[in-house]
């Protein structure tokens, strides 16, 4: 940027304000180089540079200027920054100015000044209330081709960045006795009272500077400027170890039991965050008490063309002048229905502006006002001008009409307490006629509201209310509070008589500026029957823009009430929902993106698998080896085929550490197993393992696995990988809730043990190389389904099980997790001479399908033991979980889909899981559905594809042919129904 070409800040006052004239900052707006000061927001810097046109409206592309000076801003939405940091829909009023800030206006084409689509004004009727529902109902084809493209071009907000966000975000937790939301007079007094009593206080302020409304007022507090008093209180709070102050922090949601969510804009005020610092931080705040001192939001007045740039809320015009030393206009009309806006008139006059008139809708001005200012009783009925305000038309109470030239209209329709946080849990606020505002009624437990947020509008009232709330909060947490000295404040009038709307207005009167909802839209909605606030909101879209109708809501309800001839209090409000202000998805995600989206569990021998070139696959939270490709192998199928063939002909090693493992002990351990599993355990001898099947109480299969008896009162329970957590929880339920009288204890040892399957005809030869030679591994000494504690040759303690999932002669060897990696390396080294191969999940899955073992695909939450051919395991002589319900007729109906094996009639054909079965020649409809293929694999042992599936009446249909229809893969294959065990059905290999 060329500093010499930067224009002077023509709207900036020579003195005063809380900006640092010693720190000029360069920035650009729509490519134009401008200058502001440290302490400015983008909005105040635009005011200081007399930039009035800041955006175009959503539907009608009307020129818009700043309406407010705070987070409620509906008009001044801009894109900040560029590239991957481009951030759309940012409110210029809360964007802190920094050197080099680039801001671009939105929703205009080709430029802000000349907007082609401003012609939308002519299409007005198209965009009336309910246009979404009416205009686009018919014909349907028009929606895609005509309406949607038109609306997309016409009604748009900013453009999102398309590159990945280069910044980081983090999450933090805070615990406190008293959370204070807002640091205006009420919030500061609440924090001070609580902190002095020794409570742990957290004070959160949305702004970058503490002080709230005190920063925007000239009224002295304790005989000094309000911001000086605020600085002194903040300095005292900062000096106390029991206080945490968070500025740039928006508390955006309130949850049950004193939990709040807040977002801290840690580095939004810098072009890029410093190294190792997050851009934003999401806080979860747990508080024992909370004081909501979030202030109030001013309401616009409703009159014709009230959206012209130069029409601004009175409190905002005052804030720009007092806090930022920026004059929003030189010749000012103030229009109000209350006392507060008179302060704006006095303050702007003191700043050098000409007050052309104060137009008060009441008969007389406040007692203390009037002196020296021209005023009239009446109301503004229309704003005149195009891209900038030029004059207003006023109708007086006596019926007179005046046109007054002005470049700023400061309007006030009263103040709406910011009580969102009090209502996020569902409480409805109450209408207060005297205040002409909704105030909190039933508060969530532990919460108090103070200051303008509670309708306590004068500074003195706010200070006193804050002190009271702070003291009540500390007393509620068991501390003693002493009354704080309240600083003296000059009296200020705060009366109001709500005007709501001036009749006889011409032109569009905007209620919701951001969504372009006018008074006539609300009237139309009411006429068409949308009379509840929720209906009116959705029909007109009032309050549904990014500002959530902060300046629009109460005006809309008042109009609805007026049309319906009912008091506002009876009309009620729409529901307040979090978040109070827009929150970036990045902040909500925090660090949990990409690879850190969720935790990853790695088996103990993970590093070894990676070194072997394993292709990894996610299974639940685990990262496991799918297969171990060797050079020359062109795909997974080739690698898997070699791994299966090697295992079935020599020996293979597979990491099965992910199985759930539960160490169960106690005098009633066997009885506990009796009740958990369908089959019996009392006869299981020490040193033996047994397959077990577990049901849910509704009779459906929950899980399966083996249980080994390691001692008189000690068992090792294994579960499937997927159900490790849920089975453990289920066991805790059974023990603690159902049968606490049983003497059992158990603990998960899944992570403590690494476990390897060693399968194949040479498995024993391999084990002999690593197991201490004292152990006799012969089938006589250590037969099929044996289990024992052993030592390895290097002294490592281990557990050996002669169990098999692959159907081969096999063992599983468990070692402490720390010994896992070295043990698998040893096994592979020792097995080299035997031709050992590591095998992964693909080979594991293939071999279990060849053997007809059920797994997760079959234990799918719908199958019974009977469906899976395991019905005979159900003991009839004992009670167990699911026993009674599993006997239900419908669950034992032979016609149910039941487990079968499947092979393509054309042996060269491929089949896949998910295919549905229909009779050969039948059409693939739901009515003809006879079940589906649950698992499929290419069988290297048989040389063709095989599958398992659930087929209606399946076991009685062996030898039949059915059509497997795979609509997803556009494939229909004739398959033969077989018994589910394809390899070694007699189990001879297991017992060698």
């Amino acid at each position: 940027m060329n500093k010499a070409a930067t224009p002077k800040q023509l709207g900036r006052l020579a003195a005063g304000g809380l900006v640092d004239r010693g720190q000029p900052l360069s920035f650009s707006f729509d490519g134009r180089s401008l200058e502001g000061y440290a302490g400015d927001t983008l909005a105040s810097a635009l005011v200081a540079n007399q930039v009035r046109l800041v955006g175009r409206s959503f539907k009608y592309h009307r020129p818009r200027g700043l309406l407010s000076a705070g987070g409620e801003e509906p008009n001044a939405l801009v894109e900040l920054r560029g590239g991957a940091r481009r951030e759309p829909n940012t409110r210029a009023t809360v964007a802190e100015l920094f050197d080099g800030l680039e801001a671009v206006s939105q929703n205009r084409w080709p430029s802000l000044r000349f907007d082609v689509l401003a012609a939308n004004r002519l299409l007005g009727p198209l965009f009336a209330a309910g246009f979404y529902y009416k205009t686009f109902m018919w014909p349907a084809a028009f929606w895609e081709k005509v309406y949607e493209p038109l609306i997309r071009r016409a009604a748009g907000l900013g453009r999102i960045a398309t590159g990945p966000d280069p910044d980081t975000y983090e999450k933090a937790f805070a615990f406190c006795d008293v959370l204070v939301v807002g640091s205006g007079p009420a919030g500061l007094m609440a924090a001070l009272s609580a902190a002095r009593a020794g409570a742990r206080v957290l004070l959160a302020e949305d702004d970058f500077r503490f002080g709230g409304r005190l920063l925007a007022e000239r009224r002295p507090v304790g005989d000094r400027p309000g911001h000086v008093w605020a600085d002194e209180v903040v300095a005292e709070l900062k000096s106390m170890p029991n206080v945490r102050l968070l500025r740039r922090t928006c508390v955006f949601a309130s949850y049950d039991h004193g939990v709040f969510a807040a977002v801290e804009r840690v580095n939004d005020h810098l072009a890029t965050p410093p190294e190792f610092e997050p851009r934003q931080r999401l806080w979860r705040i747990v508080s024992r008490r909370a004081v909501v001192a979030a202030g109030a939001i001013e309401r616009p007045l409703l009159f014709g063309d009230n959206d012209r740039p130069g029409v601004m809320l009175a409190g905002a015009a005052r804030a720009y002048a007092n806090r930022y030393a920026a004059l929003a206009g030189r010749r000012v009309v103030v229009s109000t229905d209350n006392d507060d806006a008179w302060t704006t008139a006095f303050d702007l006059a003191a700043a050098g502006a000409t007050i052309a008139a104060v137009v008060d809708s009441r008969e007389s001005p406040p007692v203390s006002a009037g002196a020296g200012l021209p005023w009239m009783s009446g109301a503004v009925v229309r704003a005149l001008g195009g891209r900038s305000l030029e004059a207003v038309d006023v109708r007086t109470a006596q019926g007179g009409a005046h046109r007054i030239d002005c470049d700023l209209l400061a309007m006030s329709g009263g103040w709406t307490p910011t009580l969102h946080l009090t209502s996020h849990q569902g409480a409805r606020p109450r209408w207060d006629e005297r205040l002409a505002a909704f105030v909190a009624d039933q508060l969530p437990s532990g919460m108090a509201v103070a200051g303008a947020a509670n309708g306590e509008r004068s500074t003195a009232e706010a200070l006193a209310a804050g002190a009271r709330a702070g003291m009540a909060a500390v007393e509620a947490v068991g501390l003693r509070a002493r009354a704080a000295d309240l600083p003296s404040v000059p009296p200020e009038p705060t009366a109001q008589r709500a005007l709501w709307r001036m009749s006889g207005s011409a032109g569009k009167s905007f209620v919701d500026f951001q969504n372009d909802v006018t008074t006539s839209d609300i009237e139309l909605a009411e006429r068409e029957g949308y009379r509840s606030p929720e209906h009116m909101k959705r029909y007109t879209t009032l309050g549904m823009a990014t500002d959530q109708g902060k300046t629009a809501g109460v005006n809309g309800l008042a109009l609805l009430a007026e049309r319906a001839g009912q008091p506002i209090g009876r009309i009620g409000t729409t529901t307040f929902r979090a978040p109070f202000a827009p929150v970036a998805i990045g902040a909500l995600a925090g660090p949990h993106c990409g690879a850190e989206f969720k935790p990853v569990r790695l088996p103990a021998a993970h590093r070894w698998a990676v070194e072997q070139g394993a292709v990894l696959v996610e299974t639940g939270a685990w990262l496991r080896a799918a297969y171990f490709p060797r050079s020359g192998e062109k795909d997974w199928l080739e690698a898997m085929t070699r791994e299966v063939t090697t295992t079935r002909s020599a020996v293979g090693v597979c990491d099965v550490s992910t199985l759930g493992k539960i160490d169960l002990q106690g005098g009633d351990a066997a009885e506990f197993l009796e009740r958990l599993y369908v089959n019996g355990w009392k006869t299981l001898a020490i040193g033996r393992a047994r397959y077990g099947l577990m049901l849910r109480e509704d009779g459906i299969v929950m899980d399966d696995g083996t249980v080994s008896r390691l001692g008189e009162q000690r068992y090792l329970v294994t579960t499937t990988t997927a159900n490790a957590g849920s089975v453990f929880q289920h066991m805790q339920f059974c023990h603690q809730v159902l049968w606490p009288e049983l003497d059992v204890q158990f603990v998960s040892v899944s992570d403590q043990w690494a476990q390897f399957s060693i399968a194949g005809p040479r498995a024993r030869d391999l084990l002999r190389a690593v197991v201490d030679s004292r152990h006799d591994l012969s089938s006589e000494a250590f037969p099929y389904m044996a289990a024992a504690d052993v030592r390895l040759a290097d002294g490592t303690r281990a557990r050996l099980f002669r169990i098999s999932f692959s159907g081969e002669f096999a063992y599983e060897l468990a070692v402490p997790a720390a010994a896992g990696e070295r043990t698998v390396r040893w096994l592979m080294q020792a097995g080299a001479a035997l031709g050992v191969a590591a095998y992964g999940l693909e080979a594991l899955g293939t071999m279990r399908i060849e053997k007809g073992h059920v797994a997760g695909n079959e234990l799918n939450g719908q199958t019974t033991a009977y469906d899976l051919g395991l019905g005979r395991m159900l003991s009839a002589s004992k009670d167990f979980i699911g026993a009674v319900m599993a006997r239900r007729g419908a669950l034992t109906d032979p016609g149910r889909p039941r487990l079968v094996g499947l092979a393509p009639v054309d042996r060269a054909a491929r089949i896949g899981a998910g295919a549905h079965f229909v009779a050969a020649g039948a059409s693939p409809t739901a009515a003809n559905d006879q079940g589906f293929m649950t698992s499929a694999a290419f069988s290297p042992t048989l040389g063709h594809w095989i599958g398992l599936g659930l087929l209606a009446g399946g076991p009685e249909r062996l030898g039949e042919q059915v059509l497997a229809v795979d609509l997803l893969r556009a494939r229909s294959t004739l398959v033969e129904v077989r018994a589910p065990v394809f390899v070694d059905p007699a189990g001879d290999r297991l017992r060698v």
Binding site: D256, Q732, F733, Q736, L738, P740, M885
Partner: protein, 94 residues
């Protein structure tokens, strides 16, 4: 929501797993109408607007099954006890 675990103190609800109504008691499988009784035990639950005794499992804490008395309208928690202690009382009452 915060649940005051008798072992761990007040903890965020995300540490707990919800299991619903604590009222149903597992029926006697040997009783005459066991299938009907189990049907109700497995499937039938009241859904009161108000105080509700319900089972929560402190999955990311002490692994205790708790009975939490919660007002379903306000989430106000009136009491928390170990399910095993409650069971002893329930058995005594039967």
């Amino acid at each position: 929501m915060r649940i005051p675990c008798p072992h761990c103190g007040p903890r965020g609800h995300e540490e707990f797993a919800y299991h619903g109504d604590a009222a149903p008691i597992r029926p006697d499988p040997a009783a005459a109408e066991a299938e009907r009784a189990f049907g109700e035990y497995v499937y039938l639950r009241d859904n009161p607007a108000g105080l509700h005794r319900e089972l929560w499992y402190h999955a990311l804490g002490c692994l205790t099954w708790l009975i939490v008395e919660r007002d379903t309208r306000t989430h106000a928690i009136r009491g928390v006890a170990e399910a095993r202690a409650n069971h002893a009382q329930g058995q005594a009452a039967q």
